[in-house]
């Protein structure tokens, strides 16, 4: 065995050994004695995203945007995307920012995030589902069903949506915005009739609000579910199933212009 080889391997090992010791010492001192930096938060959205020639769809909202209840996991956004991909020659890019259980208060927060703004800015089309959780509170609202409360909730909701739409329009004045209306998942139940009246009023107000903004379309879904609501609902009797989502997607698709 060559003595030189042994010597040099030993030497290299010693050097690394010392280097790692330095690293270890540094890690400990840095962990305990390091001074925190003041790191500036980036809030300007000025970073222009280079406008690509693909079609960018941004979907925001609640579990409907997420696709909860659809076995294929696509949701109406996914079905709509499939349809657009078929018809359009452009590349289509989807950013799905939907969060299950989100209410308009939370969406209001979300929409003010820098990155969300940036996404909206580069969007060619914006899809919004909102209100289901505000109104139904995941089905609990049905139990404490009282008109006075609902008026209050509706007012708050409309205020929030007004703010959200203003934000969307401020970041992007070009893209078409589709605001998906509510259906009544409880129309077969005991208080279904009263509930339907509430939902109709809610939708009417939402449509009125949408009309106040340019290039914003309110998409009704109430009628789609009216006759055979249980055929289109998932087993939780609240979210649409695959068929239900397909219906919503078809409705939105029929509104698209090329």
């Amino acid at each position: 065995m060559n003595k030189k080889v042994i010597k040099s391997v030993t030497l290299i090992s010693v050097i690394f050994c010392l280097l790692w010791l330095v690293g270890l010492g540094w890690a400990v001192t840095e962990y305990y004695a390091g001074k925190p930096d003041k790191i500036q938060e980036k809030t300007n959205v000025e970073r222009k995203t280079e406008k690509k020639d693909d079609l960018h769809i941004v979907a925001i909202g609640d579990s409907l945007t997420r696709g909860t209840g659809d076995e294929t996991g696509k949701g109406y956004v996914g079905f709509l995307l499939d349809e657009i991909k078929e018809k359009s020659k452009q590349d289509v890019r989807l950013t799905n920012l939907g969060i299950s259980g989100q209410e308009s208060d939370q969406l209001k927060e979300q929409i003010q995030q820098t990155e969300v703004k940036r996404q909206l800015q580069s969007a060619d089309m914006i899809l919004v589902t909102m209100g289901g959780n505000d109104l139904f509170r995941g089905g609990q609202g049905l139990l404490e069903f009282e008109n006075a409360d609902i008026e209050e909730i509706e007012k708050k909701f409309l205020e929030n949506m007004n703010f959200i739409f203003q934000q969307i329009r401020a970041s992007n004045s070009e893209a078409n915005v589709f605001f998906i209306g509510l259906y009544n998942p409880f129309s077969d139940l005991e208080q279904g009739k009263e509930m339907s009246a509430v939902v109709r009023h809610w939708n009417y107000q939402s449509a009125e609000l949408s009309a106040a903004f340019p290039k914003m379309v309110f998409v009704p879904t109430f009628d789609l579910f009216e006759l055979k609501v249980n055929d289109y609902l998932y087993t939780d009797k609240f979210h649409p199933n695959t068929k239900g989502y397909r219906l919503i997607a078809e409705r939105v698709a029929s509104l698209l212009t090329w």
Partner: protein, 326 residues
């Protein structure tokens, strides 16, 4: 003493263990590089963009959705919450947490191999450094020389430490050079955030610091090295205690794997934090991942490791100088 160490080094090199270890590391790094490359490609296809901000935003949304699902445990929910807040922090401050490049790959590789992979490689050398002398019968030749027994053992231990330093270096060099072929060799100066701390209320960002990636890497290497030394020392002890190399390796392997499993499920068994194998993931303290058991800190883990280390060393020397060799 010098002669003894040289003699041990010669045996180490002649056995070609280091070469085997380098080959194993090389193959694994190549595999991981390919997996990472595939993953990036899939993500690009799914999101239609390379932009890291879009990717993080999407991750945040996924995490929010998982948190809002009623079917997950509180503990898991809290972990997700912390990961989410960290992602949001990166996004808000416009810092890419995984700047593409070989240094980032190296960092992630180190962070993931500190617990099991590097200790395993160390074990390959440490667990037969003494017991092989038994099985080959050369121990008698070694001990009949006019040298004190503790000196013989010390020379072996020093050789082990040098070999461990070399293994850590090999892991670093190979992961850098192989992944660089795919991801490029740049990124030493990329900003990395450290100093996140996990409290009951969630993630604390008050003491966050911005450092260069090379600094972060050097610290990671230091921690990996410490873990490797502790595991190496314990294997060394077993190598003294147990004549059969295979049995010694088996015990150590069982301990390491138990540690990996325990880390995932001991959060309610608090005294488990005194096991050395639950404390191996030191890099978590640097990047702000929650420790397996609440209340564990860097100094606590290092204390536990050092106590195990000292005990292992003491037992090794005590037994080796006292025991009958026949």
């Amino acid at each position: 003493m010098n002669k003894l160490i040289q003699n041990e080094m010669m045996k180490l090199i002649a056995k070609k263990r280091l070469v085997v270890i380098a080959i194993i590391i090389g193959i694994l790094v190549a595999l991981f590089t390919y997996a990472q490359f595939k993953e990036n490609e899939r993500q690009r296809e799914k999101l239609g963009t390379d932009d890291w901000r879009t990717i993080i935003q999407q991750t945040i949304i996924d995490q929010q959705n998982r948190i809002s699902s009623p079917r997950i445990s509180d503990e898991w929910k809290q972990q997700l919450q912390i990961a989410l807040q960290q992602n949001q922090y990166y996004l808000d401050h416009d810092i890419n947490p995984s700047e593409p490049g070989a240094p980032t790959f190296m960092r992630i590789f180190l962070e993931n191999s500190i617990e099991l992979f590097i200790p395993l490689m160390v074990m390959v050398i440490a667990s037969d450094i003494v017991s092989s002398e038994h099985s080959q019968g050369s121990i008698k030749l070694l001990l009949t020389r006019p040298v004190k027994r503790w000196k013989v053992l010390l020379s072996k231990y020093i050789t082990l430490i040098l070999a461990i330093s070399l293994i850590v270096a090999i892991a670093g060099l190979l992961s850098y050079s192989i992944s660089g072929l795919v991801f490029g060799y740049k990124g030493w100066g990329a900003p990395v955030l450290t100093g996140f701390s996990v409290t009951d209320a969630g993630l604390n960002t008050a003491s966050v610091k911005l450092i260069d990636q090379w600094q972060f890497l050097l610290m990671d290497f230091g921690l990996v090295w410490l873990v490797a030394i502790v595991v190496g020392t314990l294997s060394f002890m077993l190598s003294v205690l147990i004549r059969s190399t295979a049995a010694g390796m088996g015990v150590m392997l069982a301990a390491l794997i138990a540690g990996a499993i325990l880390s995932n499920m001991v959060s309610s068994w608090e005294s488990a934090k005194y096991f050395f194998m639950v404390n191996l993931k030191l890099t978590n303290y640097m990047n702000g991942n929650p420790p397996p058991i609440e209340g564990m800190t860097l100094s606590f883990s290092m204390m536990v490791l050092l106590i195990w280390w000292a005990a292992g060393l003491f037992v090794s020397f005590y037994v080796f100088t006292k025991k009958d060799v026949y």
